[in-house]
């Protein structure tokens, strides 16, 4: 684990809290999905908590993020409310998208979460546009596109990298390389070992981070953010991580070699364990302090599930709202 010297305890507390929120939200939603309480698809980000939190911890509230079908972690880290997220998974009235989006489309305009997106790779163009908006307005905002190793084979990514590069846009291309594009492993779907290699062809700075070490991701994201705010963007960060579950909940992941999942869940690689151990060993936190955070998050999750379950069902005819701003055409 990278040295966390110099990182304020408040930041470390926030990182751990966010990772716990993501971990517990994901575990709970997988359970609820498997017993049939939640409709639709669910793409879990279990195992990728540090890669999300490390990047978002380097941002300000006014910065933009765009994420993917596997986006719960990013939006939680950026401050989305667990209650409204859970209500959306339950397809209820208090959900973020009032039942029009679901897991793959959670957005919170007030927190500049420009949304999860169901089209692989397209988030890179949207984030590039938000970065262009920041540049045209002369703000110091940064725009982050989260995407996976699969998405960087889409033309969207390459066109975005090129445009962001020629215009020096404040865009961070935050790739979570979880080794699988749905069922296709990275060693098959691209020639170079590292996604960071792609950046060279566009004259873009890139970093490779241990995506399961929140400190490593955070320190590299801080560098990237600094470059972007100085007008020296864009930057690509490749966080090497691992998706614990299959592509979606219900995919048993038969394409993965025996022992691979267990390895990535082991104490040595698992992001939460690493973090807790180092914090206690270095006397930044006591075990009971971390346990308290964990327990507080557990309470939040219980409340979120209650909130989602008890939120009102949507009247079917609300399907006709929000197609256009002023009614149906």
């Amino acid at each position: 684990m990278k040295s966390f010297k110099g990182i304020p305890k408040s930041v470390l507390t926030d990182m751990y809290t966010q990772m716990e929120k993501i971990r517990q939200f994901e575990l709970k939603s997988v359970d609820l999905y498997q017993v049939g309480e939640l409709p639709g698809f669910l793409h879990s980000c279990l195992g990728q908590e540090a890669a999300a939190v490390g990047v978002v911890a380097a941002l300000k509230e006014t910065d933009y993020i765009v994420t993917t079908h596997r986006g719960h972690g990013h939006v939680i880290a950026k401050g989305a409310e667990l209650n409204r997220m859970m209500a959306e998974l339950y397809a209820k009235e208090d959900g973020y998208c009032r039942g029009k989006g679901g897991s793959m489309h959670i957005m919170d305009r007030t927190k500049n979460i420009l949304g999860a997106n169901g089209i692989v790779g397209q988030g890179t163009t949207l984030a590039t546009g938000a970065g262009l908006a920041a540049q045209l307005r002369g703000t110091d905002q940064v725009s982050v596109a989260f995407f996976g190793d699969g998405a960087q084979n889409e033309g969207f990514f390459h066109e975005s990298m090129n445009m962001a590069s020629i215009w020096n846009l404040p865009v961070i291309f935050a790739c979570e390389n979880n080794m699988y594009a749905e069922s296709t492993c990275q060693t098959y779907h691209m020639r170079p070992d590292d996604i960071a290699e792609r950046a060279k062809g566009y004259g873009v700075t890139s970093y490779i981070a241990d995506g399961n070490d929140v400190i490593d991701v955070y320190l590299k994201a801080c560098e990237a953010v600094k470059q972007c705010r100085n007008g020296d963007g864009p930057v690509l960060i490749e966080s090497k991580t691992y998706r614990w579950l299959g592509h979606y909940v219900g995919d048993p992941g038969v394409y993965r070699p025996d022992g691979e999942v267990a390895l990535w869940k082991s104490d040595e690689k698992e992001p939460m364990h690493q973090f807790r151990e180092q914090m206690i060993k270095n006397e930044i936190f006591t075990k009971s302090e971390l346990d308290k955070i964990q327990n507080d998050v557990a309470d939040m999750i219980i409340s979120a599930v209650e909130f989602g379950r008890n939120s009102k069902p949507l009247p079917p005819e609300s399907a006709l709202e929000d197609v256009y701003i002023e009614g149906l055409l």
């Binding site: 949304g115 546009g129 262009l132 066109e159 445009m163 929000d322 197609v323």
Partner: protein
Amino acid sequence: MRTITYREAINEALAEEMRRDPEVFLIGEDLADPFGGSYKVTKGLSTEFGCDRVRNTPISEAGLAGAAVGAAMAGMRPVAEIMYIDFTGCCFDAIVNQAAKIHYMSGGQVQVPVVFRTQQGSGRSSAAQHAQSWEAIFAHIPGLKVVMPATPYDAKGMLKTAIRDNDPVMFIEHKLLYGVKGEVPEEEYTVPFGKAEVRKEGKDITLIASLRMVDFALEAADKLKADGIDAEVIDLRSIVPLDKDTIISSIKKTGRLAIAQEAVERCGFASEIATLAMELAFDYLDAPVKRICATNTPVAFAPALEDFIIPNTEKIYSAVKEMF
């Protein structure tokens, strides 16, 4: 009143809206001076507003269209030029899955005030990948507004409306209208969406058209006069929203309906209008509805083949005459 070209009218609308609102910017391929756009519509604008706000992009339709949507989600008012509607195939996702659906998918939280300016149509031997008419493809997608101005007056007034609109708008121009002149006032005005224009009143048949077909329909109506047929010619101007009232009340008056359409016949917008006539004015129809459309083929290169494929004044005239 002064007369200016369709091209100049669009250029004026862009310039006026950029002066009025610093959040308006242009993004697209080859827009900046000295080139000034593939059809010279944006000439002079980068000189006045700078190359930041008149943003030339690489040849990357998917990238530029997606970036326009992203900037709109962040609250700007981008006008993205897609050089040919045929090229929207390269950026279809940004238009139909992003721009069209984000307001809905976000439960109304996020608006996408983007305009996609593009041009379509045949008549220049541009062949199958530069001459299609694709309005029905976009009209099929809930969440998009689809606008097709036929005159310089409408082009200017409707583009200003499109830029100020908070929904995504497909603003479809016609490549053969750019040089056409028409009256455009010097003073500020806008033209609302969803109001068709009766270009010529008549009592015997309702003849519906848009873009370049409007002039052909008017010429056909002129010829029909000699045969004692008094055609009412309606220019749709926008197809989403559609002015059903004007269409239906005209049919109720005339008892006959023909639709001229430059796009291929199958699943075109003419079919939508024909269906509306069935649903809303069936008892008033004295003859089967007639569609005068392009053949169900790609657009060919050879002028003789292209002429064969695309409707013109003569084809509209004879099709309508057969209805009596």
